[in-house]
């Protein structure tokens, strides 16, 4: 072309990755986590005991596994509020199968299979019938838990095989429980898939502009279908762990967990409107929430107060960045 075209070099990025990291939400979360950790260790002399810390992780690992899968869905601009309903249905069906004397392997397959099936149910309604996911999954939340109530009534399923208990109560090495290790591995895999693969990039593209993603050759519906299967399976995994840890199933199991998972996702810095965020943030947010609830437990704060606390945190996390942005904008307009 003309002479002005030559040698106009455009840099890759203006600010270094380090300075971006210093201004990141993730760093802020780490500081919050450290502060709560120190507060907890000052509040209770037992807190720093390795076994105590290990116990603390059971508070959040199951929810956090769901939150990692939910993060994908929220980044893509969708949401799944039926996750706790899936746990109830999966746990109930595992209980029913256990009553027939099925072995541990079968139970795990049932748990994961129910998760996959429920995820596929949501996926079909959202991607094939093009219904909004928030409506679909509010409906299926009641549907799945309702089925659990129909099957179980006010009964309790017990009598799980002895070796089934390992998934919720076993340790891989020293104080590291199977649940905790599984969470770390799944989070690592999730982080790599979301941030380092073509699939993950497509999820971000969809969350930012699904139309433009379609026009760029992304199979938007196919990707979303997979994401709903992922939250379904993650709920199935959580159902296996929770059932194993409790050793029993009631239809009210995991009540309200969908909101705690969404809180972790949003606290972790994933934009609730889709398009941005990181798995690292969600993982740190899971630790923050685990530490807070455990710390409040150490201080003998009742569960009702805790749920008020979680609710306030969720509102705060969504509101604070918005308020700050508005204040900054006001100052600029001066």
């Amino acid at each position: 072309m003309s002479e002005i075209t030559s040698a106009r070099h455009i840099p890759d990025r203006l600010d270094s990755p380090l300075s971006a990291a210093l201004r990141s939400w993730e760093l802020l979360l780490v500081l919050v986590a450290v502060a709560i950790f120190i507060a907890n260790s000052l509040a209770s002399p037992y807190f720093l005991d390795p076994w105590n810390l290990s116990d603390a992780t059971f508070n959040f690992t199951e929810k956090a596994i769901i939150a990692v899968a939910m993060a994908f869905l929220v980044v893509s601009g969708e949401i799944d509020l039926s996750v706790a309903g899936i746990i109830a249905l999966a746990s109930t069906l595992m209980g029913a199968v256990a009553q027939t004397g099925a072995g541990t392997g079968t139970l795990v397959l049932v748990g994961l299979g129910v998760g996959l099936g429920c995820g596929a149910f949501n996926a079909v309604l959202v991607t094939r019938l093009r219904l909004p996911s928030i409506v679909v999954t509010i409906g299926s939340m009641s549907l799945f838990r309702g089925l659990a109530y129909v099957i179980l009534g006010d009964q309790v399923y017990k009598g799980y095989p002895a070796d089934f208990a390992w998934f919720g109560q076993g340790y891989v090495w020293w104080v590291f429980s199977f649940e905790f290790v599984a969470f770390l591995i799944l989070a690592l895999v999730g982080g790599i898939v979301l941030h380092r693969t073509i699939f993950g990039r497509q999820v971000f593209a969809i969350g930012n502009n699904a139309l433009a993603a379609t026009f760029s050759g992304v199979h938007v519906e196919r990707v979303k279908f997979i994401l709903f299967l992922m939250t379904g399976v993650a709920s199935g995994i959580a159902a296996v762990m929770l059932t194993s840890r409790l050793g029993s199933t009631r239809p009210s199991i995991a009540q309200g967990w969908e909101l705690e998972a969404v809180t972790m996702v949003v606290l972790g810095g994933i934009n609730i409107n889709g398009g941005s965020g990181s798995i690292l943030g969600v993982v740190i947010a899971a630790f923050v929430m685990g530490l807070i609830t455990f710390g409040l437990g150490l201080l003998n704060v009742p569960g009702v107060i805790m749920s008020i606390f979680i609710g306030l945190m969720l509102i705060g996390v969504i509101a604070v960045p918005i308020v700050f942005r508005r204040l900054a904008a006001l100052r600029r307009r001066g």
Binding site: R8, I10, R196, Q202, A205, A213, G217, S276
Partner: protein, 513 residues
Amino acid sequence: MNAMSPTQSVHTAEAQPLLEMVGISKSFPGVKALSDVALSLRAGHVTALIGENGAGKSTLVKCLTGIYQPDSGEIRVDGKPVRFATADAAQAAGVTAIHQETVLFDELTVAENIFLGHAPRTRLGFVDWAAMHARAAAILHGIDAPISTRVRLKDLSIAQRHLVAIARALSVDARIVIMDEPTAALSYKEVEDLFRIVARLKAAGKAILFISHKFEEVWRIAEYYAVFRDGRQVGAGLLADVDQHDLVKMMVGRDVAHVFPKGEPKIGDTVFSVRKLSHPTEYDDISFDLRRGEILGLYGLVGAGRSEVCQALFGVSRPGSGEVLLDGQPLVTRSPSDAIGAGIVYVPEERGRHGAITAMPIVSNMSLPSLRQTSRRNFLRMAEEFALARTYAERLDLRAASLSQPVGTLSGGNQQKVVIGKWLATRPKVIILDEPTKGIDIGSKAAVHAFMSELAAEGLAVIMVSSEIPEVLGMSDRVLVMREGRMAGLFDRQGLTPEILVRAATGNSEGRQ
């Protein structure tokens, strides 16, 4: 062109300006959007504001309408300094703006749209519906717009909506009217109607600021001009004293030698054939061949079905019947991904909605359709993505601070370069460009045109949808004209005139309506 003189007399040229802006500066973090600019608008006259995208025109308009506060400088109305702290304050002072994409409400009636927020009230404080409809009808009559005040906006055409937007601007008794690219979405006849309205506003003593990329329009309706470049005012005065060449030079700060760099085409074999493509409602019986190295212009009025045909070829929608052949083989595209895989790509008309993911960085936009190329076994490689993005950014002369900058922060022309670059990176055989230079500045326009010629010279087959006759005539080897979903003619470049195109597109034997 440059012989055209202002249509209105300029005997009041020495009168005091109705509105003056002096020494206006405005900075944003990292960018100086306006530095020390001046502008004056005179009652009963049109001042054309000209400049490339990113020259600071929009920022100026926002300062004038109270959306931004200038960092320094003064705005005077009737010689008295004013300060527009809010959009309401600007409106109260008689400044109103008609934007490129005006915000109106589909479900409300015409009258409600016109008077939303300042509806006439009865003594009890209720909306005075009778007065509202009467006044709305009066305003619409005043601009020669035969639209009922009681229909809902969703039942109107784009041009009619535009008239409602103008009526709304007039309903606040504005003395200063800003029109930000008002003709961008209008057809030939609708533009004529708009010009009549502008002439009326002028006669009514309004001061009009007219922002446009189209020089013919500027010369037809404006008396004064102001040229902006890189946030500065680089020239202003009477249009009668300058010609188009002078303005272009001021705008780009250099000479733009030839706007349509059409080389001697080396046209090869047929690569792409469309046979009797039909859709139940949008288009019917479309057939053409496209050869290597050829640019096929696709001309027609807005709504003639051009974009629909292109989107069907790209797999976004499905045709009812018909056949598409690529390299002689039948091709079925069920999704854009099929089309891209086969080597057919589409640069859509609506950049922000379909073309680019504006919140994501340049590099991710460029690499999105080529991720297979820049990755290893599904794992992303950022270094290769940056390399790919840099290759096409440099080839297209992209102006950006960094490749990690969100596309939405670029000017329209540079956004378009990103979208074109992302498609070239897929190494297509056929590229479909839908209004490739719509709403972009003359510098970027020339770059896009030069690039199209270059691509054709490299053996790519190009389909260019365009509503701009000079562009169609300047760039195409052949032109397919569509009218109401059907082919109205397929013309060779030789001997093609604007009259032939307009006649075919409108079906009017006079060539214009």
